[in-house]
Amino acid sequence: MANYDPSFAREVFQNVDFGEEIKMCMQCGVCAASCPLSTEMDYPPRQVFTLIRAGKREEVLNCNSIMLCTSCYTCKVRCPRKIPVVDVMHGLAHYALKQGFVPRRQPAVFGREFWAQVYKLGRIDEKDLPRRYFFSEGLVAGIKGTLDFMDVGLRMLLHKRMKLLPERKIKGIQSLRKMLDKAERMGKGGAGA
């Protein structure tokens, strides 16, 4: 039996971007019904908010829901209480990473690799990024992931969407890095932070 503990809700209200908006949730479930990824999530957005109210810190900050949000904005548009659900989800994701919660193989990993590559090359290497992502969970998972995507890769080669040789750095990579550095200093830290 769970105890209701308002202290985590207070923590969220104070520390998470848009966290205080959760107060207005009336649990209608429109966000859950609208979310294209809710079937993949541990908890749909509505339930994430319930868990916060009930004080379930571990469940919330560990769940994949906050990481899976693709920013399609359907929930934010539809919410009858005008809660910016997308922003709350991102806010929670940042907060979870900041608090040292390690995301499982999830968009967070993908985001981190994506960011690293953009920083390094100024572009994405279509071979290197999936490789790093698939192999982040070990050799077996890496091979399986690669095989699963083989036909996609072959078709990309056929349509000249992917080169066999490694990608080179863009021109003026230094200027881009300066911009990215500044953006990172201004923001509260993205998925790669």
Partner: protein
């Protein structure tokens, strides 16, 4: 009255294209000896109306039969003054628009309708409004001095009528005066109750007579003529009033029945009413030790929406808890309120206050209580959290507030018993049986009416005085007595104000109309009223028992004592009377009998059956018109006869029709039962009961009971009309022709 009748046939709107005029005109002069019969292609136009007016002036026509469109339209165009009789024959919606043109059957249908119209006009007398010998009063009595009662009295007085306000407590104000704050438009913040200002305005108004510490001892008479005896603190008073508003309000649901929620077991478990009184008195404290409350849990639907307790939603408890949570936040911003709800129901704009309460940081939990308990000096609640999908425990609670519902003041705690009739099944050992809510003997004492059918307003199943609150708000089953506020249905203060104004307007309308001798509702403006031929009365009591409005009292010999101002002119008494001694100037058993006789019944070998359908004017007849407007088709063998209410159908009409060779009878009336739609509440139910006993008549005539059928037709059921009729025609086909044809 000496009648000079004129018949006017309109040939517009497709009537002229569908029918042959000459046979119709011949019928009028040959069968009814009416010499004035004219046609016009646009009778409701200026020229057409002038044609009729010319005859009224030139030829002295005072009875006008208009064979044109439905009587439900153009009634203002064909109004030639109250001393002229106007009878409408519906050749448009129910002949030309629903039957194939220029066919023999269509022509026969039109001819029958014209015959029936002439027969009806022949029997109609212009009604003379009822005028009592005593002087009419237009004062309004308001019983109950809460927010609804005070506002009703004040609105009455502001409209220029004298109001008499009777309150049983020593001071006015009711629950309003006991509240700390209220939530009302625009539902953003708490507002002052305004009780003091309202009480002062009522007490100071020169046109309001206030009796406090008083009760109504007796109300006798009828609308316009009520005489009221009031028992005051140290004596008595009497008043004469025209109409009555009952605003006796509500009582909280008895929380001692909610022991499973800890009430009575733990000191710190309160009801919302106790919480309100504590907040109004000052601070919100723990009753056990007087310390300030820091953590409060509100249990919504405490005993509400629960078949064991109150089955209905009281609609205000959610707002009340939000209000009380706001008191707590104002007292201590650090304090926490949990609201444990089934569904948050904040109606209309009140949703804004729900938003405010959410924004204040109150915690809302959807679920139901499993246990309330005490650990140390704090309470805990275990609940099933539906949204979390698990059991939760809320600890360290200072107070648990039970949001109990509203019970109408009219609902008795113990259902009164009466002596059961001999054939009753549910009677106890002493032969007593529980009174039904829709009896006048059910409700708690408030009005003490001197009515044969009981001293109080009949109520619906939960004890609220009857009122069809969508179609006819404020109306009760007693003419001239209106209900307002929480006695009518549970409501918040803003709605009570609307209710009070509405009921006051209704009461004034009633007093005014009654003084003119005309009906109020739903036959507004009707001048006719039932007349009793007392020489032939057999004291059978059917009229006094069946009148849905308790209009007829009884003397000790069981003679009916009609009160015409209480009457709604439905004719249920006329339908009930086995001796057929009750009639209206323009509606009687004989008149409909003559209309039935006017129907031409073809011989059996012609294979043209005849069906008579008695149709309720209020819902089924408009549905028929609607079906006509939509150009739906049905059998040309059916003749519709509109009746004021199916309850006014006298069974002699069944015998009359069948003995003349009519093959079947269809009764089209309103839905009855718990969610009745009958404008006269019991009319269609009574008709159904009477018809179920009609087999006796049929047996006597050696006929099949399938020949008589009752169907419920709502105003929106127009699309079912062709199906209803064709189904019935099939039945009649199976049963075969009426053997009495041609007798």
């Amino acid at each position: 009255m000496d009648k000079t009748t004129g018949v006017y046939i309109c040939t517009g709107c497709g009537i002229g294209d569908a029918l042959e005029l000459d046979p119709l005109k011949e019928l009028v002069s040959d069968e009814y000896g009416i010499s004035i019969c004219k046609d016009h292609p646009f009778l409701c136009g200026k020229e057409g109306v002038e044609l009729i007016k010319g005859d009224v002036e030139g030829e002295g026509v005072n009875t006008i039969v208009i064979a044109a469109c439905s009587g439900r339209v153009n009634y203002d165009v064909f109004d030639f003054g109250p001393d002229k009789i106007v009878e409408r024959v519906n050749l448009r919606e129910q002949v030309a628009w629903c039957q194939p043109p220029n066919e023999e059957d269509t022509q026969m249908l039109a001819e029958d309708y014209l015959r029936m119209g002439c027969a009806k006009a022949n029997d109609t007398e212009p009604p003379v409004p009822f005028q009592a010998e005593e002087e009419y009063s237009k004062d309004i009595l308001v019983v109950g001095g809460g927010i609804a009662g005070m506002t009703a009295a004040l609105d009455t007085a502001k409209a220029g009528y004298r109001a008499v306000l009777v309150e049983k407590e020593a001071g006015l104000g009711g629950f309003l005066a006991k509240m700390k704050k209220r939530i009302t438009m625009p539902y953003k913040e708490l507002t002052d109750t305004g009780a003091d200002a309202l009480i002062q305005a009522v007490e100071e108004h020169p046109n309001i007579q206030v009796y406090t510490s008083s009760t109504v001892e007796k109300i006798s008479g009828g609308p316009g003529l009520f005489s009221v005896e009031i028992k005051t603190e140290n004596g008595s008073a009497s008043e004469r009033v025209g109409a009555v508003i009952q605003a006796t309000g509500w009582v909280p649901y008895d929380a001692s029945k909610l022991e499973h929620l800890g009430y009575g077991k733990f000191k710190n478990v309160l009801t919302n009413v106790e919480m309100e009184q504590m907040a109004a008195a000052g601070k919100i404290k723990r009753p056990s030790d007087g310390k300030d409350a820091k953590s409060v849990l509100f249990v919504q639907c405490a005993g509400s929406r629960d078949p064991e307790h109150l089955p209905y939603c009281s609609s205000v408890c959610c707002l009340v808890s939000l209000k009380q949570a706001t008191y707590l936040k104002e007292q201590d911003p650090e304090a926490v309120s949990y609201i444990l709800y089934k569904d948050m129901r904040t109606l209309g704009q009140a949703e804004d206050f729900y938003r405010k309460a959410q924004n204040d940081g109150n915690i809302f939990i959807r679920g139901s209580v499993m246990q309330v308990g005490e650990s140390g000096d704090k309470l805990f609640v275990e609940a099933e959290d539906e949204l979390l999908g698990e059991k939760v425990r809320l600890e360290e609670l200072d107070l648990v507030v039970l949001a109990t519902g509203l019970v109408p003041a009219s609902k008795p705690e113990v259902t009164p018993m009466i002596k059961a009739p001999a054939d009753a099944e549910d009677a106890d050992e002493d032969g007593m049986i529980e009174v039904l809510p829709d009896s006048g003997f059910f409700a708690n004492s408030a009005l003490n009416l001197e009515y044969r059918q009981g001293p109080e307003l009949p109520t619906l199943k939960y004890g609220f005085p009857d009122s069809h609150f969508i179609c006819f708000p404020y109306e009760t089953r007693r003419t001239g007595i209106y209900s307002a506020g929480c006695i009518r249905r549970p409501m918040e203060t803003a709605k009570a104000l609307d209710d009070a104004a509405g009921a006051a307007m209704k009461a004034i309308q009633c007093a005014e109309a009654t003084a003119k001798g005309i009906a109020v509702h739903p036959r507004a403006g009707d001048m006719s009223f039932p007349e009793f031929n007392m020489q032939r009365c057999t004291q059978c009591k059917r009229c006094t028992e069946e009148c849905p409005f308790g209009a007829i009292n009884e003397d000790e010999k069981a003679n009916p004592l009609p009160n015409p101002t209480r009457c709604r002119r439905c004719g249920v008494c006329m339908g009930a009377c086995p001796e057929r001694i009750i009639s209206f100037k323009n509606y009687s058993v004989g008149m409909i009998g003559n209309m039935l006789k006017a129907i031409h019944v073809p011989e059996e070998d012609e294979e043209k059956p005849r069906i008579v359908a008695f149709v309720c004017e209020n819902d089924a007849y408009p549905a028929l018109d609607m079906a006509g407007i939509k150009r739906m088709n049905w059998s040309p063998y059916v003749r519709f006869i509109p009746v004021r209410c199916l309850g006014s159908i006298n069974l002699v009409w069944v015998a009359d029709s069948l003995s003349r060779g009519i093959d079947g009878l269809l009764f089209m009336g309103c839905r009855h039962g718990d969610d009745y739609q009958c404008h006269f509440i019991k009319g269609s139910e009574l008709a159904n009961t009477r018809l179920s006993k009609v087999s006796e008549t049929l047996d006597r005539l050696a006929l099949e009971s399938e020949r008589v059928k009752f169907v419920e037709v709502g105003i929106t059921d127009y699309y079912k009309i062709p199906e209803i009729i064709s189904e019935f025609m099939e039945t009649i086909d199976e049963v075969g022709p009426n053997p009495y044809k041609g007798w």
